[in-house]
């Protein structure tokens, strides 16, 4: 801990964001990176707690107090090593993570938490600036072949860890480009995609075979995969969006959020988009149904496309402005948050249940809804609250219900859990020997940081599976690091 009294001298200062009027006119990241000195001062607020609750808050177990201290003392290279020791892609989490670590920071009890995410991103900047992306080549080659299916954050982390352990890894992606939700779900104004490309380059150099445009389950089939590989890790995500089966769902202008977001990401990347299927918000009144992060991404994207208005509605009631006693620190605070996209001018409303879409000429012109309340956990409609919101475009951002169960999951005969996700044990192993699953596919939809953490965990599980010959000592070591 650099400065034991740092938290008493310095208050939390978050990084600036570019002014709304400016940023909505382009697709660049909205954050203005703080100066190295400012970051140092913020890092000095870390108290190196006896129990670093941030460790617990962070699914990756990032060694937050250690690198905060190193940043404070200007030891950026060491900080880089400590950060990369637990996190394969800090440049990603440093941008898009909601930072549960900060929520559980002990300064958050009565003060304001350390700007952990900013410090993390600033270290990751250094990684890119100083070329620490040097491939980490494994010293050994085990000769074992592993297929990782799906190149979202879980797949990337899993593949990288396995390659570094000396296995021959092929990372399959159905799409034409790798990255999964990182590439197609996250708008550039939150994360520009250059960093992803650099990482992929590093992974290729580390020996990961990157195989896009490959629809595993079709060609190759699950059986082929099992034959050709010593182990398989499924990181296929939770791709089935929650639908809203109400009258008018089929109308033009009602789309899933991911269709909208991935199209825009393609446009920015210069990938041609089939204009006949273009979903554009320009000049339109947009309604986003769903109050989560994906919804927010739709909001920000709509503004940048030139939407006339954006309204975001949510089924759940409006959260309280401050923590309620029953939701104490270090729990994740269930409070009203306003995303940067929402700040850009969205109308927001809560406790609204959509009953049907209005139409005109096969196109959506509005939604019909009413207000609801929750009694004993059950939703109840409130009489006399019917309302109509006119619109030209509806984006459904109500979450995802699980991995695609047809195709690969079916072919391999994987068992599912009651929520429809792939069932695994603590090491990520499924019911089929040699087949593992990680990330949203087994966890259900979640944060990027959880996906990376899962990818790492399951990579360890795969590695242990492949090395079972050395059973005794390895088993003990695994206990030790559990």
């Amino acid at each position: 801990m650099g400065d034991p009294r740092g938290f008493l001298k310095t208050t939390r200062v978050e990084e600036d964001e570019r002014p709304v009027e400016e940023r909505v006119r382009d697709w660049r990241e909205i954050t203005v990176h703080a100066s190295a000195d400012d970051v140092k001062a913020q890092a000095a607020r870390c108290m190196d707690c006896g129990i670093p609750f941030c460790h617990q808050g962070c699914p990756l177990g990032n060694l937050i107090p250690e690198w905060n201290d190193l940043v404070y003392r200007g030891k950026l290279e060491e900080a880089t090593r400590r950060l990369l020791a637990t996190n394969n892609f800090p440049e990603v989490t440093g941008r898009v993570c909601p930072a549960p670590c900060e929520a559980s920071c002990t300064l958050n009890i009565r003060d304001e938490p350390v700007t952990i995410k900013t410090v993390e991103r600033s270290i990751s900047d250094a990684i890119f600036a100083h070329g620490s992306l040097t491939p980490q080549l494994s010293a050994v080659r085990t000769g074992k072949r592993v297929a990782v299916v799906g190149s979202g954050p879980a797949g990337l982390a899993c593949a990288q860890q396995l390659a570094r352990a000396g296995h021959d890894v092929v990372l399959f992606e159905r799409d034409s480009r790798l990255g999964g939700l990182l590439r197609f779900g996250i708008p550039d104004f939150k994360m520009e995609k250059g960093i992803l490309d650099a990482r992929l380059e590093q992974m290729a150099a580390e020996g990961v075979t990157l195989q896009a445009n490959t629809n595993v389950g079709v060609d190759p089939t699950g059986e082929q995969l099992l034959r050709e590989y010593d182990a398989v890790a499924l990181t296929i995500g939770s791709r089935i969006p929650r639908d809203l089966p109400i009258p008018g769902r089929q109308l033009a202008g009602v789309h899933f959020a991911m269709e909208f977001l991935s199209q825009q990401n393609d446009r920015i990347a210069g990938v041609p988009v089939d204009e006949s299927k273009a979903i554009l918000a320009a000049g339109k009144n947009v309604i986003v149904i769903g109050g989560g992060d994906t919804g927010s991404d739709c909001v920000g994207t709509s503004f940048r496309q030139g939407a006339a208005s954006v309204t975001q509605i949510e089924l759940m009631p409006k959260p309280s402005l401050v923590r309620v006693p029953a939701n104490p620190w270090p729990e994740w605070p269930l409070i009203l948050r306003t995303s940067s996209s929402q700040e850009e001018g969205a109308e927001r409303d809560w406790a609204i249940s959509t009953k049907s879409f209005r139409e005109e000429n096969g196109r959506v012109t509005g939604i019909e809804a009413h207000r609801v309340t929750f009694e004993g956990g059950k939703m109840v409609a409130i009489g006399g609250t019917d309302l109509v919101i006119p619109c030209d475009l509806v984006l459904l951002a109500m979450g995802f219900v699980g991995p695609e169960r047809t195709g690969l999951v079916e072919q391999l005969g994987l068992m599912l859990d009651p929520r429809g996700n792939v069932r695994t044990d603590a090491s990520g192993a499924t019911n089929v020997p040699g087949v593992f699953a990680a990330g949203d596919a087994s966890r259900g939809q979640s944060l990027v940081v959880w996906a990376i953490a899962d990818g790492r965990r399951v990579a360890a599980g795969v590695d242990a599976y492949l090395r079972r010959a050395r059973a005794e000592s390895v088993a003990f070591a695994a206990r030790a690091s559990a």
């Binding site: 129990i51 609750f53 559980s104």
Partner: protein, 1509 residues
């Protein structure tokens, strides 16, 4: 008459004792009965220093040693028709024999055979007449038959004593061989005879008729009254022994015994010839420490050394760094240090060979010994003044023995031989100075060798893995040590698993816990009292102890035991022909393939190593280097502790240990505890090479060389601390002393490799030890290892000191803290259940011993509603002792309010309490702490504080740092803290490691008596920390009349403690509690006391186990703090606690969010959980549940090491015969009871001052005192404080004019309004915690000696005094005004360590001071009359300056000396005043005090002059 056999956790070898002793010698007259009668009188007057156990008529032992009463024996034997030769031509054996006549006949035959074997004549036997009716039933039941054997001299006079010695040895060893265990020869000599046994001291004369006969005459009576920690009647353990009587304890006993046994094979003496075989073992097994020392003294004296010589070599004074010591004497000590290690520990020793009688103190002088010389020719030495009455004008000298000094009376010459004279005589017997000069080897003088190159990064990283380094080792330990030169500090105890319960491979070191001194001997302050400590280590071969030759000091002498890599290279280069060095690889083969037993490989390597060591010695090596350098993929290191201990013990067994030194070159050792262990198990020096490499490779500002120096300095400092924790001063005594115990190592492994080490819970053996070593080794040879780019990435995270992801497990972790806080804040049972489940269900990942257990119901379950209500249970709960100062006022008061609301007890902690808290709040709440703690610094301990308590707790040790003191730095001492501690803001407050009024068990009894005197309504508790032997100490504490004994675990939290103390000292409370309960029950003492368990108690299940193991009450500290908002920041020592719990910063304190309800909710959750367990076990009340350890069983686990644990000893239930009745929490304290046995003077005092007490009217009364009048004035002080508060009465309202010799603690706690004038003298602890009263002690008007050259008061006077005045017309003993914080005093000379730890007040010394004056003095002023200009050489300059007096000072001192003269009529004062201008006073000014005065002067100019604290 053996002690009971070991059972459960009771181990007879752990018994301890301490005592009162004395002798009276008549220099001029022929032997007289008067001397014998005087000896018996001394015993009577020292009775309060002895103890009685469960049977009030059976004492712990008393005895008397006399010159053989020839006339008496001649008469009584003549009556039986036996004719005695002339005096001196026969010997008398005092024999304790079996009561079984046929066995007795065999014993007699064995003795007679021995006499004849040595060609002496059996003159006859005599039955010693005794009166068993004066004995208690226990003593009577075990009483032996006493017979005296008379032996005719058939050899030359000079050879006779030696022959008698040989007869005694032969008889004893034959008796042992024949299984005659009752046969004991108390003395066998032609000069002296010993009468001893188990009568109460005052009844010894009534028991032995011989002592009453008029013609029983002697010139010497040497007596002893014993206070033992157990109550088992053992007649032979009474003192005096044949040569010595001892008050104190030998801490280094285990090492002394091992070394003595190791020397036996080298012993040879012409005088003994082949008979020497009869003497072995020299130290008779099973004897006490005193008996063992007597064995060695006896043997060495018989071999021809003079008794003074023997005492000087076995118990040397501190000679290292003593500029005032003559060189030949220093050489004597240095030479003998190469022959024998000191028998170290607090000791007042009386010794005699019949011709000379002497007394000596150990180097620390921690036991009192006073002496008086009369014109009529008596010399009396005793633990106290006042053991015999002499006319005032008969006394020519009154003094006290100083540390390391000797008092010797020579009957042949009829005079006292002074310390200097006798020591000069002994020291010049041989040219020791020359011998040393030509033989000692100095490391610095050895030829240099090229610097050792650092290893390359890859090798270093491999070894970091091989030796299991962690990131914490580097960053938390080594870097701070190499930067600051000291061990880092931590907070909040430890909650990680024991080494044997961890899943990580732990260094073997971590299975061992340091033991420490509590009650029966004091720890030392290694900083402030460094002058008595030394780290000098001598390496090489020793010779025959019985001869003195120059070659015996051909040893390598090291200033301290840590060698750098270059130092070691110099030695290994073998520059000296006659000092050969053998390097022995300490490695074992990595077993090939599966199924091979790694233990077998390790074992054969150990056997090879031992063999190689033996061969090297046979090849004349003087130094063995055990080295784990040379690790390869096929060769793994033997854990260095295992290798070292194995070689040490093997060599001792085969009689070769003394022929070579042992040096350990290891990559494994890195922290203080590691090095301490290696030395404790026999190493003379250690080279922790990998630690040096790691430090050199770490990115740090300081240059490499400086880092290494700092690191060594930190280790040295830590070693001193570890040694001092046990009260050991010299590294050579610590070496091999094995002051450790193991947790979780199998018995057979301990016996084979670590013999003599306690391991109460069996567990792992060699196979698991090897496996842990191999796991680490294997990980260093993983493929790809060489690509890891940094040391930090190589090593494990650690997570031992604090919870870390991927690190060691902790009970306090994010989940448990969050759930507990949620539970208590929202009264959320579910959250509590989550919390309790996480703590309680440790099945396969246990943390604690109790985590490995389950309940077993032995009776039918009952419905929960039949269990006593939670509201009753919580009254048995107490919060831990956390001082206001360590935690914030808000947190402290919050706990107090909560505990007062539920009828539990909160604890003030050390550091006083704001008086405002004694008054209840308008809403009925109270912030008053029911328990007031009395700790070593006595901060804030006043009469007013003490009477405002329901319980007074004497803190002997605390779990996080047993045996250590503490320090509150000046910058943390704000106005408020200073006020309650009666100190001054900005002045550092140091807590000494020991209580300076508790150096032994009888001292503790005295303090308990003092506290009960001042507040008879409070119960007195004594807080101990769990370690092996704590039960035995607890038995002593129970006999010292404590009401409650607290057993704390090793894991307790604290504000600040060195990391190695948090981790490595003490044991879990489960062990200490079970032992305590067991030993108390076995001793019949369990019904006398309550037991409280304390240490990381968190849940109802924890409480249930504590109750089943024997606890009546339960202490909680960390958990209620967490309930109040603590989040285990472990930053208490930095004052930056962000939740306002452990900080004094007002900004942070404002963040405190705890409420009394939170704390109350916690306790009720725990109590309710407990009730469900009670119901399932069928206990309706806690009282029924106490001690039912049969309800505890080990539970199944898959944990590879926990599975091996063996709890049989720990869970052995108490014998059904040893029944007991648990005390109810609300039972009255025993204070009144104890005081009712006190002398009537106290009652008289209360009665005589009734009007003053009631109405504040003035009273003057006269009273006669004797040394049995202890704590005189304390009861009155308490009553005054109760009635009149801290303010007391107008000064001089009550005037007591006393005469005689006051007992200990004269004027303790005296409050304002009391003036106690004593004409006579007083013993130790005068004016302890003086609270405003005025004391004056002056010699009787008729006395003829010069008052200012004689001692008038004992040791440790004005300890912790806060206000008041004290005038002493004479000299004081050691530690005058220790930790004085406000009293003003004038005295005419002081012993060593005067004004130690003083924080305020003014002391004027009109005479010489001893050494180490003003050590640790942070405040107040001392003025010393220094005409001889000696002060500069005797002052400890670390914290003070010496300077001339200012005019204001002159005025102040003059005024005080005048006042002194008025109170004491001191001639010295008159002389000083009349020659004022010629006198040279020196002012002793603490640096901090000056700073405080200056800043005050700036604040309000002109108000500084008084300078009273």
């Amino acid at each position: 008459m053996p002690l009971p056999p070991a059972r459960g956790l009771y181990d007879p070898s752990l018994e301890r004792d301490a005592c009162g002793l004395g002798f009276v010698a008549d220099l001029h007259r022929p032997p007289s009965h008067d001397v014998v009668a005087k000896g018996v009188e001394i015993l009577r007057r020292l009775a309060h220093r002895g103890a009685a156990g469960c049977d009030p008529c059976t004492g712990d032992g008393a005895g008397i040693l006399l010159h053989i009463p020839h006339a008496y024996f001649e008469r009584v034997l003549g009556r039986a028709g036996i004719e005695l030769p002339n005096a001196g031509d026969y010997g008398v054996g005092q024999c304790f024999l079996s009561r079984n006549p046929s066995v007795r006949a065999m014993e007699v035959r064995v003795i007679e055979d021995a006499i004849r074997h040595h060609n002496q004549k059996v003159i006859g036997w005599r039955d010693v007449p005794v009166d068993p009716s004066v004995l208690g039933p226990l003593a009577r039941a075990s009483m032996p038959v006493f017979r005296q054997v008379f032996i005719g001299r058939m050899c030359s006079v000079p050879a006779f004593e030696r022959t008698l010695f040989m007869i005694r040895k032969r008889a004893s060893s034959s008796a042992t061989q024949a299984g005659l265990h009752d046969c004991y020869i108390a003395s066998l000599s032609s000069r002296t005879v010993v009468y001893k046994g188990l009568p109460l001291p005052e009844r010894l004369g009534a028991f032995f008729a011989d002592l009453r006969a008029d013609d029983t005459r002697s010139k010497l009576a040497l007596v002893h009254s014993r206070f033992s920690t157990n109550t088992f009647p053992t007649w032979e353990r009474a003192h005096p022994y044949r040569r010595i009587a001892h008050n104190g304890e030998i801490n280094t006993l285990r090492g002394n015994q091992t070394w003595m046994r190791a020397r036996e094979s080298l012993l040879a003496s012409e005088a003994f010839g082949e008979h020497i075989a009869d003497f072995k073992p020299i130290i008779r097994p099973g004897g006490s420490d005193s008996a063992s020392l007597d064995n060695v003294v006896d043997f060495l004296v018989a071999s021809g050394r003079s008794i003074a010589h023997v005492m000087m070599m076995l118990v040397p004074e501190a000679w290292e760094g003593q500029p005032e010591m003559p060189p030949e004497r220093r050489a004597f000590y240095e030479y003998h240090a190469s022959l024998v290690e000191p028998w170290d520990g607090p000791a007042a020793l009386l010794f005699t060979d019949g011709i000379r009688v002497g007394a000596t103190l150990d180097r620390n002088g921690l036991r009192p010994l006073k002496y008086v010389v009369t014109a009529s020719g008596y010399v009396v030495a005793a633990s106290e003044f006042g053991v015999l009455d002499f006319e005032a004008d008969d006394i020519v000298e009154k003094g006290r023995l100083q540390p390391g000094r000797m008092l010797l009376v020579d009957f042949a010459q009829g005079r006292i031989v002074g310390d200097d004279e006798i020591k000069h005589e002994v020291a010049t017997q041989k040219p020791y100075v020359n011998w040393l000069e030509s033989n000692k080897i100095d490391l610095h003088a050895l030829p240099g060798v090229p610097a050792v190159a650092s290893m390359d990064a890859l090798e270093r990283r491999r070894l970091l893995r091989v030796f299991g380094y962690t990131r914490e080792d580097t960053h938390t330990l080594l870097v701070p040590m190499a930067t600051n030169g000291e061990e880092p500090t931590g907070s909040m105890g430890t909650d990680a698993p024991l080494a044997v319960l961890s899943e990580r491979p732990n260094p073997l070191f971590r299975y061992f816990k340091q033991q420490f001194a509590q009650v029966t001997n004091p720890p030392i302050d290694p900083i402030r009292e460094k002058l008595v400590m030394t780290l000098v280590s001598c390496l090489g071969g020793e010779g025959n102890l019985l001869v003195e030759t120059p070659k015996q000091c051909r040893l390598l002498e090291l200033e301290q035991p840590i060698l750098t890599n270059d130092d070691l290279a110099k030695i290994v280069a073998e520059p000296l022909q006659d000092f050969k060095v053998a390097v022995l690889p300490m490695l074992f083969d990595v077993p090939e393939g599966h199924g091979t037993d790694p233990g077998a490989s390790l074992q054969s390597a150990l056997e090879d190593l031992c063999r190689a060591a033996e061969q090297a010695i046979d090849g004349n090596a003087s130094l063995l280097v055990l080295s784990d350098r040379g690790v390869t993929e096929r060769r793994a290191p033997i854990p260095s502790l295992l290798g070292t201990s194995a070689v040490h013990h093997h060599l001792a067994r085969v009689g070769k240990r003394m022929r070579a030194g042992l040096l350990v070159e290891t990559g494994e050792a890195r922290e203080v505890a590691d090095v301490a262990l290696l030395i404790g198990y026999g190493a003379g020096a250690v080279n922790p090479y990998l630690a040096f490499e790691s430090i050199a490779a770490t990115d740090m500002a300081a240059p490499a060389r400086e880092r290494a120096e700092h690191y060594i300095h930190a280790l040295d400092k830590g070693l001193l601390k570890v040694m001092s924790k046990m009260g050991i001063s010299c590294l050579s005594s610590y070496q091999g002393a094995q002051i450790f115990e193991a947790i979780g190592i199998r018995k057979d492994a301990i016996e084979r490799w670590f013999p003599g080490t306690a391991s109460r819970v069996g567990g792992i053996g060699l196979a698991e030890i090897a496996r842990e070593s191999l796991m680490k080794h294997a990980s260093a040879f993983e493929p790809g290892f060489d690509r890891i780019a940094s040391d930090d990435d190589v090593v494990d995270v650690g997570g031992v000191y604090a919870w870390r992801v991927g690190g060691e497990r902790h009970l306090w972790n994010p989940g448990t803290v969050a759930n507990l806080q949620k539970a208590v804040r929202l009264e959320d049972q579910r959250a509590y259940d989550h919390y309790a489940k996480a703590i309680n269900e440790q099945h396969d990942a246990p943390f604690t011993l109790r985590g490995c257990w389950a309940f077993e119901s032995t009776r039918p379950a009952i419905p929960v509603d039949e269990v006593e209500p939670a509201a009753m249970i919580v009254r048995r709960f107490a919060t831990g002792a956390m001082s206001f100062g360590s935690i914030s006022r808000e947190a402290h008061e919050n706990l107090a309010i909560a505990m007062n609301r539920i009828g539990g007890r909160s604890n003030s902690g050390e550091g006083g309490e704001d008086e405002a808290r004694f008054v209840p709040l308008p809403n009925g709440d109270s912030k008053r702490s029911a328990i007031k703690q009395v700790a070593s610094a006595r901060f804030g301990v006043t009469a007013h504080y003490l009477v405002n308590a329901d319980e007074l707790q004497i803190k002997i040790a605390q779990g996080a740092k047993p045996g250590e003191g503490g320090q509150l730095p000046g910058h943390k001492v704000d106005e408020h803290i200073a006020r309650v501690r009666h100190s001054v803001p900005g002045v550092t407050l140091i807590s000494p490691p020991p209580h300076h009024d508790i150096y032994s068990i009888e001292d503790l009894a005295q303090l308990i008596y003092d506290l009960k005197a001042v507040n008879p309504r409070a119960r007195v508790s004594v807080k101990l920390v769990s370690e092996t032997g704590v039960g035995t100490i607890a038995a002593g504490v129970a006999k010292a009349k404590a009401d409650t004994i607290q057993i704390a675990g090793h894991d307790g939290g604290t504000g600040a403690s060195p990391l190695s103390s948090i981790q490595h000292a003490g044991t879990p409370w489960e062990l200490g509690l079970a032992e305590t309960h067991h030993v108390l029950a076995l001793n019949g003492l369990r019904s006398r006391v309550r037991i409280q368990a304390d240490g990381q108690l968190k849940t109802g299940r924890d409480v249930a186990f504590a109750a089943l193991l024997g606890a009546d009450e339960f202490g909680f500290a960390t958990a209620p703090l967490v309930a109040s908002g603590c989040i285990m920041m472990r930053k208490c020592h930095l004052n930056t606690c962000p939740v306002g719990v452990a900080t004094q910063d007002p900004v942070l304190r404002a963040r405190f969010q705890g409420t009394p309800e939170h704390v109350i909710n916690f306790f009720f959750f725990v109590a309710e959980e407990l009730r469900t367990i009670m119901a399932s076990l069928g206990f309706a009340t806690l009282s029924e549940m106490v001690g039912h350890s049969e309800c505890v069983i080990p539970r199944e686990t898959s944990h590879p090491k926990a599975r091996l644990l063996d709890f049989r000893e720990l869970l052995t239930p108490v014998n059904p015969e040893d029944s007991f009745l648990p005390k109810e929490t609300m039972d009255a304290p025993a204070g009144e009871d104890l005081l009712s046995q006190a002398r009537p003077t106290d009652e008289a005092l209360l009665e005589g001052t009734r009007l003053s007490l009631k109405y504040g009217e003035p009273t003057t009364m006269q009273i006669q005192l004797c040394n049995a009048d202890r704590a005189f004035g304390a009861r009155l002080a308490g009553e005054l404080a109760r009635k009149y508060g801290a303010e007391g009465l107008r000064e001089g309202t009550i005037v007591i004019e006393a005469t005689g010799t006051a007992g200990q603690s004269f004027g303790a706690f005296a409050t304002r309004g009391m003036l106690l004038v004593l004409e006579g003298d007083a013993n130790d602890y005068v004016g302890k915690s003086l609270s405003g009263g005025v004391l004056a002690v002056r010699p009787p008007a008729r006395s003829s000696f010069k008052a200012h050259e004689n001692v008038i008061i004992g040791n440790t006077c004005l300890y912790g005094a806060t206000t008041g005045k004290a005038f002493f017309a004479g000299r004081a003993g050691e530690r005058f005004a220790v930790r004085n914080s406000g009293a003003v005093s004038v005295v005419e000379g002081v012993g060593d360590h005067g004004c130690e730890y003083m924080t305020g007040g003014t002391v004027v010394v009109l005479g010489p001071t001893g050494r180490n004056f003003a050590a640790g003095m942070s405040g107040g002023l001392a003025f010393v009359l220094d005409d001889e200009r000696m002060l500069a050489g005797r002052v400890s300059k670390a914290m003070v300056d010496l300077e001339p007096l200012t005019p204001e000072d002159e005025e102040l001192v003059q005024r005080l000396v005048k006042e002194h003269e008025e109170h004491t009529r001191s001639a010295r004062a008159r002389y000083v005043l009349s020659t004022w201008s010629k006198r040279r006073f020196v002012k002793v000014m603490p640096h901090e005090w000056r700073r405080v005065l200056q800043s005050r002067a700036q604040q309000n100019a002109g108000k500084v002059a008084g300078a009273h604290g």
